[in-house]
Symmetry: none
Subunit: 259 residues, 2 copies
DNA sequence: GCAAATTCGCGCACAAACGAGCACAAAACG
DNA sequence: CGTTTTGTGCTCGTTTGTGCGCGAATTTGC
């Protein structure tokens, strides 16, 4: 009605501020604070949560980044689309033949691939991920090479110049990587430029590159471009992939497997 | 204390914090703490356990430790002379100053050293042991560099040419190694020639070398000679060391610490 | 090794919160 | 001026979180 009335965007910005300040806030508190209905607040929160600016809970929202909780992101991501990732991992393992040498990047989907390698024999697996190592150590019958370098606690993986230098001395049959986002136009993306650079080094080390990613990644956008989709030989994803996108992917010369 | 009705997710995050802080906690304690029914707490714990954030037990939960199977030799060795190793670890940690760079070999005694580094600040720790990495990742406040190379399952550590190459690019303030056997005449020994060769590379990378070993190792003999005792600057061991041997060690110019 | 006491998991009930669809009003546009 | 778009609020059927009770399972104590 009058002067005190805010525009929608303005209100949403203030909500983010309030949440970051207090840590958490309820829908009813926000409704009272801004003098709008709870329905409107819910719409705001849905929009903000979609942009990862806040975390939605029943009754309200919380700060997007948990304060001191030592939750390891990759362990969280493991539980998202878990069933799809498991199927993708199994299908990818079928592409591998006994005795091959693999470069296996340790995203949550790459970890699912590792879990399905226990029926293979005599593989040599190179990875940067401590979780992949942990998984494959349990299986016991493969040769395992871990890249060295600075340990990134939130990914449980090594990063940095040392790892890249080491990588450059190695050559493999197949390279398996994951991605944070995939798009026909914008190619394959990682979360940070550093991660993209690192994975690019992966791609150079092998003949055949396999991208493993669940179909939800096709609706996301990520900051750091890694490579174009046509640089990928084989893409393994789940059946949730849009048919139109699937057609475009195949036109780029990518061998597409959906499970 | 200050919980004017929390939201579910918030309560679960706090539970994780409480568990990680205390090590374990009971359902009834949590119920009283948050002022909700035990049923609700059990539901929270089930959700957290499903995400591997805590480990469920009867009556409560424990900190989630993503370790480690029991038939691995080094984990068994950890239990032999455990008390001595713990004292040796603590005493060795006191030799380290904040901000230093360490090369820490991952024997069972080296692991005990790692456990006592959590009151130091801003260390850079280079290691070949996955167990040391695991321990120090929990402590969170150090920079951690893991050597790369072939993973030896029975030691949970990396070995091989790649690791040695990588090592040659690094320099540190202090080198900490363990041993399988120590003798005044025959020097410091490792289990295999490869291990000895590997540890010798360690010794070359730093100014000051510290040998950590419990006194029982002075009565053993091992195959592969690593170096002479006089190549060691400081030896940390337990009071079980024979006085005659102690005198001889000191005559060799080694600074001896017994705890 | 058995009995008692916890503890657990499941189903049900209830209230709060939610999302989807519809209606209305104000602004934007041609 | 009419039409479209956008933001808002309402209603209603559905989902989610919570607590309680009961039978089953697991510890604990002797």
């Amino acid at each position: 009605m009058t002067h005190s009335e805010l525009m929608t965007l303005e209100r949403q910005e203030q909500i983010v501020q309030l949440v970051n300040q207090a840590g958490r806030i309820t829908v009813s508190e926000l409704s009272a604070h801004f003098g709008v209905s709870e329905t409107t607040i819910r719409r705001d929160l849905a929009a903000l949560a979609a942009r990862n600016l806040v975390r939605r809970t029943h009754g309200g929202v919380m700060r997007a980044v948990p304060v001191a909780t030592s939750e390891i992101p990759i362990l969280q991501r493991q539980n998202e689309h878990a069933a799809e990732k498991e199927r993708i991992g199994a299908a990818t393992a079928e592409l591998i033949r006994d005795g091959e040498t693999l470069l296996l990047a340790g995203g949550s989907t790459g970890l699912a691939v590792a879990r399905h390698l226990n029926h293979h024999q005599n593989l040599t697996i190179i990875t940067e991920s401590l979780l992949v190592v942990h998984e494959l150590l349990r299986q016991e019958h493969h040769r395992l090479i871990l890249l060295g370098g600075t340990v990134a606690p939130e990914e449980l993986a090594v990063r940095g110049t040392l790892a890249r230098q080491m990588l450059e001395q190695l050559c493999v049959d197949k390279v398996i990587i994951g991605a944070r986002a995939v798009s026909v136009e914008r190619g394959v993306s990682a979360e940070t430029p550093e991660e993209a650079e690192f994975l690019r080094t992966f791609l150079e080390r092998g003949e055949h590159t396999i991208l493993v990613t669940d179909s939800s990644k096709f609706h996301l956008s990520a900051l750091a471009r890694l490579c174009s989709l046509s640089a990928i030989n084989t893409l393994v994803t789940d059946r949730g992939l849009d048919e139109e996108i699937a057609r475009q992917v195949q036109e780029l010369g990518v061998y597409l497997i959906t499970v």
